[in-house]
Every structure is written in structure tokens, then in C-alpha cells.
Amino acid sequence: MAKINPEFLDELKKYGGNDFSACYNCGNCTAICSLSTEDNSFPRMMVRASVVGLEEKVTSSLDPWLCYYCGDCSLYCPRGANPGELMMALRRWLTAKYDWTGLSGLLYKYLPATILAFVLTALAVIGLAIKLNFEMETIMHYGHLFEMFAILGVFMVILTPNLIRMWYLVIFKPKRNIPIAVYFKGIGELFIHMFTQKRTLGCSNSQTRWFEHLILVFGYLTLLFTTVVLDWFGTENFFIIALGYIESAVVFIVTAHFMYSRVNKDKELNKHSQPSDWLFVIWLFLMGFTAFVVRLFIDFDLLAANFWLYLLHITILVQWAVLIVPFGKWTHFLYRSFAMYFSSIIQLSQETKGK
């Protein structure tokens, strides 16, 4: 028997979905969606489930992750119910649902909590710098160490358990019995989608968006690798230095364009930005930009005189690594890829059962 949560609608409104209760179930959104197929028809079912409070249906669904927000559903919705924005809100809500710490939900729902968290992390960094008497070498050494441990820690403590929770909610709890062999059979999908985001190409008029997003992901991941493993700030290798410049430039140029789009609201997906969207894109921009300038100052021997710049960079980095990556929008990188993976193994197991 289906369980109804009468507060579900109000809860979702805190995550950014506002107009969806206007829906009159015509199915125009599902039919106009270029990603929607006969086997995976969305978003109307999600709108319906959200309106009537079928929380479990949403929790066990992968539909929100299969949507790449081209915005056609909202553009052509005869009721102005904005299904695209609801799917975005559901992604935020699911991110909070998967997160075992509960911090995601807190940060999404309450802006003051987000601001407080950002201020506290900044104070912690500055406090540590004071304790270390602003010694550049030591702080940069700790900064580099932090990068390594933060990545490891966030993955082990937050993201991996959250992915297991996602698997539990989507596959285990709804009793979708999937043979172990199928998990291995479908693993390719996970990496294909993680590193190509090729599904975006199925959206209408999405080539530019896909390309920008792709080079941003590559720029970001390789920048991470260059700074953490290749020690970009400490290296003398010309090739690595140049690589880092290119990568950080890609990151801040693409994010600058994203910010410009959000300000101008030129596309349907840019019309309803929430604080979490702004934080994500601004912090990514700042990370790329400050990293670029820090390395520039190192090359021109200006960093010692302008040490505040490194402090600013490391503060942004800490906020990014301990707030946005584990609890914010960054996680969509993982959840989307895993959703594609789960979706394909569900389909594979159904096909094998069919045989």
C-alpha cells in the first residue's frame, strides 16, 4: 500500500520547486522531453508523485537524475507548472535524502546555515594561519596535505556511504533483484557517463552546453590531479606549470560564462537559480581563478609579498572541499553517473529475466 506524506509538497518547495501543484496531468512535459522514452517516461510521474505526496516513489526513482534540464517541459507546460524546476528541486531533495549526515538538507533549506558554515570554515583557516604565524612554507605544505586528505576523507566518510544509501533506496528497498553478474556487465556505463555526460547531447539544442560542461569537468578533474598529485604550486617542471595554467583558465572561463548565463537567464534552466547553484558556480570560478593567480604570483615572485592571496585561495578550497563537494551541488557528478549505471543494470536485469 502506498504511503502518503501530506507535507511532501511543502517540503519540496523549500528545495526550489514552486509551481508544480498547478499540474493538470496532460503529459505534455513527458511527451516534449527529448530524453523521455517508453521505458523511462518522465517528468509527469514525478510531478504527480510530488503533488500527491508519494515520497517513496520519488525516493526510489532515478528519473530526476535522468533529466538534464533542457527546459522544454517548462517552456511548453500549458499550466506553467515548471516541471523542469521541480526535477531540479527533486535532485536537491534526493541529494539531501542520500546524505547520511543530514547536513545537505540543512544547507539546501536554510541559507543562514549555509552562510554560517562558510564563515566558520573561513575563520578556521584564518585561525590556523594565525597559529602558524603566517609562515608561507608551512601553510602551503599544510594546504597541500589538506587537499590530499580532504579528497580521501570526503570520499570515505561521506560520498561512499551516500552512494551505498542511494543504492539501498533505489535498488535494495524496492526489491529490484539484480544478479551480481549484471552489476559487472553494466559497469562500463558508469564511467562512460561520468566522463562524457553524453546523455546531455540527447537534449534539444545542447551541443554548446555539453561541450562547455565536458571541458569544465575535464579541466576541473585534471586541475585537481595537477595540484594534488603533481604539486602544481611546488613544481619547477615547465610542462606541469603550463598544464595547470590551461586547466585553471578553462575552469574559470567556463564558469564565468555559466554565471553570465544565469544572470541573463538566457535559457530555461538558468531562470530559477537557487543559492546552492550560485555557490557552486561562483566557488568553482573562484577556485580556478585564485589558483591561476597564485601560480602567476609564484612565477613572478610576488606571492611572499601578497600572501593573503594564497590564504584566500586555500579558504575557498577548504569551503569547496568540506561543504560544496560532500553536501552541495558537486555530488550531482556522482549521482548522475550512478543513476545511469543503476538504470542500465535495472534494464539489463529485466531483459535477462525476460529471456
Binding site: N25, G27, N28, T30, A31, I32, R44, C77, P78
Partner: protein, 434 residues
């Protein structure tokens, strides 16, 4: 200088619009003994109804109801009719009297002596799209609007006329008169009935349906013309290649209940006329499949639900889901993409003819006929009924009444009822003046 005195013609009531509502209201008033002036902007009386095939839910012949009414109106001694005319500058002279000017546009044909013999039509070398057949076929630049037009006299379409004079030579009655100009006729009257009707929604505003690009996507009114006794092809044919369709789809709520096109309200007639046409198609093309894609079937009137059930039992396929996209295949067939809402699945279906059940919109511009007076409209530009329950025909101007679809979407029986209400309210208003 000799003083020119303009003799203003006096009437009890002005009726704007000669459709079924305006005609009914004028006839009622005239039968009560009031003098009426009826102004119709089109070439013929009868409005939209005279072009329809059958009416729902009784399947009575629309023309058989309209034409006798139109003739009665046209021949009534108490009714003065101006067709192809527009009334402007309706002003209040006093609490008891309105004045206005009728602008009678030139037909370039003398109405009084034209016999409607069609000799001019046969002589005319110019062929253009026939608006009365909704562009399905052509007509000449000089033409009788349609076979059951009233008055049944010719008209020269000056936008397309090449002034060759062939019609003038062919006309035995010598009715062609290229010297006609707009006539201005001042009138006086005590009350007004606004029966200006509605406008059809323009399907080009729905880009995903590709009306015009997809040749076999037609509007319901085009389909209606193919089902009337005076139909152009004497059969139902699809426009692109003249093939007889055997798998027809109806797309409901095309331009109604849709905020993206600025018309969020229900047009109230599309469900029923589509169900009616589906039944007529089953008669005209017995082998054809008819599918109706609907959001909700609104069969709220007397006998409507039974009519809907009848269509279902005749084999019309009703599918719940709004059609989102129509794409044309190379052979002219159309792929319709929709979500089957009961199954929750996106589907695509192929049809060889798609009919858009287009909605109706308010006939804008009525407000400008009353300069200095404030004729209020509702948020959807229909004339506001200020006392919808006590005096449903009353508008914001004392002495101005509204009838039919000028006040909102409604079907034919409701329009006639509304016209009845408007005429009796007008009669009692005029009586109270004296």
C-alpha cells in the same frame, strides 16, 4: 450657403453582429414590435454557425436551423440590415439616446440589382484562396461569398482584383459599379446589443504542431467544411496529396487551457465538436479510424455525455494525453508524440491526417467602438457581465447588453439562450425609458 441637414435614422435598438446570437436577438426584438438596426461586418448574415455541418449533440443540420432564421431576419419589416459594414463611434447623446455611425464598405456591386447569377464569377480570371472554405479551395476575385449567403449578392475583392473589367461586361444586370466608396450612415438608437462573437485561435502560435509546415495538419473548422453538404471536395480528402484519410487524429485543447499561448481558459466547445466530427467521419469514411487525444472530456451539457458515450461505442479511440509534437513523414503521414497518461508511457503514433481542435478567443476591439464610454471586459477580453446572475446580459454601460460568445465561450444552444435573455432585457430597458 445652403444648410445641409443630415437626417439621422432612428431605431429602438442597435444589434452589433449578425451571427446566430445577434440574429436571434434582433428577431426577438423585432417580433416584439421594436425597430432594430443590425450591423454585420461580414458579407453575409449567419456568422460562424451557417458554415457548420451538424450541431451537437442532436446532429441537426446547422444550415437548416440558420438559413430560415437568417431569411426571417433579412425579410423582417422591423429590421434594417447593414452587411459588410462596421459601426463606430457609439456615443451617449443623453441617458436615453445613443448615436453612432455605420460605415458601409463598398462591394463594387449594386446590391439592389445583383441577382446572384454568378456570371461575373465565371468571367473573372483571378483565382485566390476562398476564406469561406478556410483556404481549402479557390474562389474568384469577384465572388458570391458562399452558396447559402444572405444577401446572396456578389462582391469584388479589391485586394486581388486586376481591374480587367471582365465581370462588368459579363453582368447582364449591370450591377458592377467600380465607383462605390465607403458610405457613412449616422444612426440613433436607445439600446445596444453586442453580439460580436469570437475569433478562432490561430494554430500557427503552436510551433510544435507545425500547422502550415505539416500539410496534413488541419484545423477542426477546415474539417468541418469537408463534412458539410456544400463541401468543396464532396468527400474528406487530406490537403497535401488528396488522399482519402483512413487514420485520423484529433488534438484537443489546441490553443485552449494553455498558458504558453496566453489562453488559459476552456473553450467549452472543442470536446463536443470533435466528438461530433468523429461521428460524422465514421459516416463519411466508414473504414477510417478516429483517435481523439484529450486532456479531460468536458461533456457537461444536456445530452452531451450520452453523445460522448455514443462516440465511444461507435469505436472512436479516446486517448488521454496532450499531444506535444507533430512531425511529418516523407509520405505526408504524421507522427504524433504524446504521453499515454493512463499507462504513464511516452508513445508515438502514426496518422494520415491530424485535426487540431483549436480553441476560441475573444473578439477584441469591441471596446474601441464605445469611445468615452467604459465597456469593461474580463481578463480574457470577453465583454464583462457585471451582474452575471441577476441580469446576465447587462454590461458596464447602461443600455448596452451582451449576447452570445461576446461574453465568453459557449456553444450554440447557450448562445441562443443568451440572445433570448439579452433581447428581453433590452426590451424591458427600452420600455422603462418611456
Amino acid at each position: 450657403m445652403p444648410e445641409t441637414t443630415v437626417i439621422k435614422k432612428q431605431y429602438d435598438a442597435l444589434v452589433i453582429g449578425g451571427g446566430i446570437a445577434g440574429g436571434e436577438a434582433a428577431l426577438n426584438l423585432a417580433n416584439m414590435g421594436f425597430s432594430v438596426v443590425l450591423v454585420e461586418k461580414d458579407l453575409s448574415l449567419g456568422g460562424k454557425m451557417i458554415h457548420l455541418s451538424k450541431v451537437f449533440p442532436t446532429l441537426d443540420c446547422a444550415a437548416c436551423i440558420t438559413t430560415p432564421k437568417v431569411s426571417e431576419t433579412a425579410r423582417h419589416p422591423n429590421i434594417k440590415i447593414y452587411t459588410y459594414s462596421e459601426v463606430k463611434n457609439i456615443k451617449k447623446q443623453s441617458d436615453k439616446l445613443f448615436t453612432a455611425t455605420v460605415f458601409k464598405k463598398p462591394r463594387y456591386v449594386n446590391e439592389d440589382i445583383c441577382t446572384g447569377c454568378e456570371d461575373c464569377e465565371n468571367a473573372c480570371p483571378v483565382i485566390v484562396e476562398d476564406q469561406y472554405q478556410h483556404d481549402l479551395v479557390g474562389r474568384k476575385a469577384v465572388y458570391i461569398p458562399f452558396s447559402i449567403a444572405n444577401p446572396r449578392v456578389a462582391n469584388i475583392d479589391m485586394d486581388n482584383c486586376i481591374l480587367c473589367g471582365a465581370c462588368e461586361k459579363a453582368c447582364l444586370a449591370e450591377a458592377i459599379d467600380f465607383t462605390q466608396v465607403i458610405q457613412e450612415i449616422p444612426i440613433e438608437f436607445k439600446a445596444v446589443i453586442v453580439a460580436t462573437g469570437y475569433d478562432m485561435f490561430d494554430p500557427k502560435k503552436l510551433p510544435n504542431y507545425g500547422f502550415e509546415q505539416n500539410k496534413n495538419v488541419v484545423t477542426a473548422i477546415q474539417m468541418e467544411r469537408q463534412l458539410v453538404p456544400t463541401r468543396p471536395f464532396n468527400s474528406v480528402l487530406r490537403p497535401k496529396d488528396g488522399k482519402m484519410p483512413n487514420n485520423i487524429a484529433y488534438v484537443l485543447c489546441a490553443g485552449s487551457r494553455d498558458e504558453t499561448v496566453g489562453n488559459p481558459i476552456c473553450s467549452q466547445i472543442c470536446c463536443m465538436y470533435s466528438i461530433k466530427q468523429a461521428q460524422l467521419i465514421m459516416g463519411a469514411l466508414p473504414m477510417a479510424d478516429v483517435t481523439i487525444y484529450y486532456l479531460h472530456i468536458r461533456a457537461f451539457g444536456k445530452g452531451f455525455n450520452e453523445f460522448y458515450q455514443q462516440a465511444r461505442s461507435m469505436g472512436v479511440d479516446f486517448v488521454k494525453g496532450k499531444v506535444a509534437k507533430i512531425t511529418e513523414k516523407e509520405n505526408g503521414n504524421l507522427i504524433v508524440r504524446f504521453e499515454d497518461v493512463y499507462k504513464g508511457k511516452v508513445k508515438e503514433a502514426e496518422h494520415d491526417l491530424v485535426v487540431l481542435s483549436t480553441g476560441i478567443l475573444a473578439n477584441k476591439g469591441i471596446v474601441e467602438l464605445f469611445p468615452g464610454l467604459n465597456l469593461e471586459t474580463d481578463p480574457f477580453n470577453y465583454v464583462k457581465q457585471v451582474k452575471e446572475l441577476e441580469n446576465p446580459s447587462q454590461t458596464s454601460i447602461p443600455g448596452v447588453f451582451v449576447a452570445g460568445t461576446a461574453s465568453g465561450p459557449m456553444d450554440i444552444p447557450d448562445s441562443i439562450l443568451s440572445a433570448g435573455a439579452a433581447s428581453s432585457e433590452t426590451a424591458s430597458y427600452i420600455r422603462r425609458l418611456s
